[in-house]
Amino acid sequence: MNHKKRILLTGALLASAVVSGLLIYTKANAVPVERVIHITAKNFQFSPDSITLKKGEPVVFEISSGDRKHGFSLRAFGVRSDVLPGKASRIRLTPDKTGKFTFSCDVFCGDGHEEMTGTVIVTE
């Protein structure tokens, strides 16, 4: 093997090692995949209005409005967001307790606002 071939082979081995190392590093440090839960607020209702989660499971609520400005408030976990037409609002949550928790619209939106609620159920 001449000198030129040796350099090429060494380079290839080094590149392979770097790529493998990067793959191992990425896998070890990967952010857990978040489950995305789509929620629509429309006609004084959330859809779905009952959501089941697992304790410790990271989720993203992606909430959109089908008509007017609403709010989404899940007080038990201290999270809320305005929900505007034409723009999805995102709330990240990793529930740290089990139970049944109410979420509600906290922006007065009209006749029916008072009944605009839903439930998050967190299981073990």
Binding site: K69, T102, S104, D106, F108, G110, H113, E114, E115, T117
Partner: protein
């Protein structure tokens, strides 16, 4: 004979009213004294006065299973006030004068009809305030055209009244600008001034999952806290509730359209259905006897009947 008797409340009390004593002082009054009796026989009364609170009239609401006399209840309340032998110094309406609607013209019509009905009150001085049903969908524009300012103050016989708007923001906040206005007003008041706050929503977290709170209500209470004699009267929750935050007493009023369940007592908040065996149950108005010298407020709940 008590002042209430003299003022003809017995005529109405026969309809099932009750008395609650409330005080901005914490010396054995307030919540600890609910249902007790105060002897005013030896008290000086020259500065005493009383006013009537009506709340949550929701003019325009329709729901026969909830209130089959939706168009008559407010009129009966007006008659009840007019029938008092001694008229109150003034009347306050603590919000939700009308039921909400998306239609701006219908909103205007409801406010106009409401004004016509309460225009029959004999008492010339009536202080209005908005509820979220009146003001949240247009930030109070229509309300202000019909009734005037959303937040203001007035003074009466030694008591400083502050009307706080926690409804024109649909997110249920008082807001920084109004907080600054409140702080500036309070700065003009002595530490022992007799202060009554009139508002719609509770300023404390009564039950936020049911929208029974004010987002920045804690900041309002913080601003009031240095003043020794503060009492809050509000509406919104369609039932009596008496609560203390430190030395500040908070008293909610009944509705004149439909009652709501006790906080958190049912999975979903919804009006309590009409009870045909007890018409107008859970509805009512109240009188508030103010004793500025003692910073005491005697509350008497008065039911509405279809008599």
């Amino acid at each position: 004979m008590s002042k209430f008797d003299r003022r003809g409340f017995i005529k109405l009390a026969g309809l099932g009213g009750g008395i609650v004593f409330a005080s901005s002082l914490s010396r054995g009054f307030g919540l600890n004294a609910l249902g007790s009796v105060v002897n005013y026989a030896n008290a000086k009364v020259e500065n005493d006065f009383y006013f009537v609170q009506l709340s949550d009239t929701h003019w325009g609401f329709a729901g026969p299973k909830v209130n089959p006399d939706a168009e008559g209840t407010l009129k009966k309340a007006v008659q009840a006030v007019n029938s008092l032998e001694e008229q109150p110094d003034f009347i306050v309406f603590t919000g939700d004068l009308t039921h909400t609607t998306d239609d701006v013209q219908v909103r205007k019509d409801r406010m106009s009809q409401f004004k016509d009905i309460v225009g029959a009150l004999k008492v010339p001085t009536v202080h209005f305030m908005a509820g979220e049903h009146d003001a949240s969908l247009d930030r109070g524009d229509t309300y202000q055209e019909a009734f005037g300012k959303l937040n203001y103050t007035f003074d009466h016989k030694g008591v400083h009244f502050i009307v706080v708007d926690n409804v024109s923001d649909p997110g249920a906040s008082v807001g920084e600008s109004q907080l600054n206005w409140l702080k500036a007003d309070l700065k003009q008041q002595k530490a022992d001034a007799r202060i009554v706050v009139l508002t719609h929503r509770p300023l404390f977290d009564l039950y936020p999952d049911w929208d029974w709170s004010t987002k920045d209500g804690a900041a309002v209470i913080d601003a009031l806290m240095p003043h020794k004699n503060v009492t809050v009267f509000y509406g919104h929750i369609h039932q009596e509730n008496h609560h203390m935050t430190g030395h500040i007493a908070h008293h909610s009023a009944k509705s004149l359209m439909f009652p709501l369940p006790a906080p958190g007592s049912v999975p979903k908040k919804a009006p309590v259905p009409w009870d045909a065996s007890a018409p107008y149950k859970g509805l009512g108005l109240r009188s508030i006897e103010a004793d500025p010298k003692q910073a005491k407020y005697e509350i008497k709940e008065i039911n509405v009947t279809g008599a």
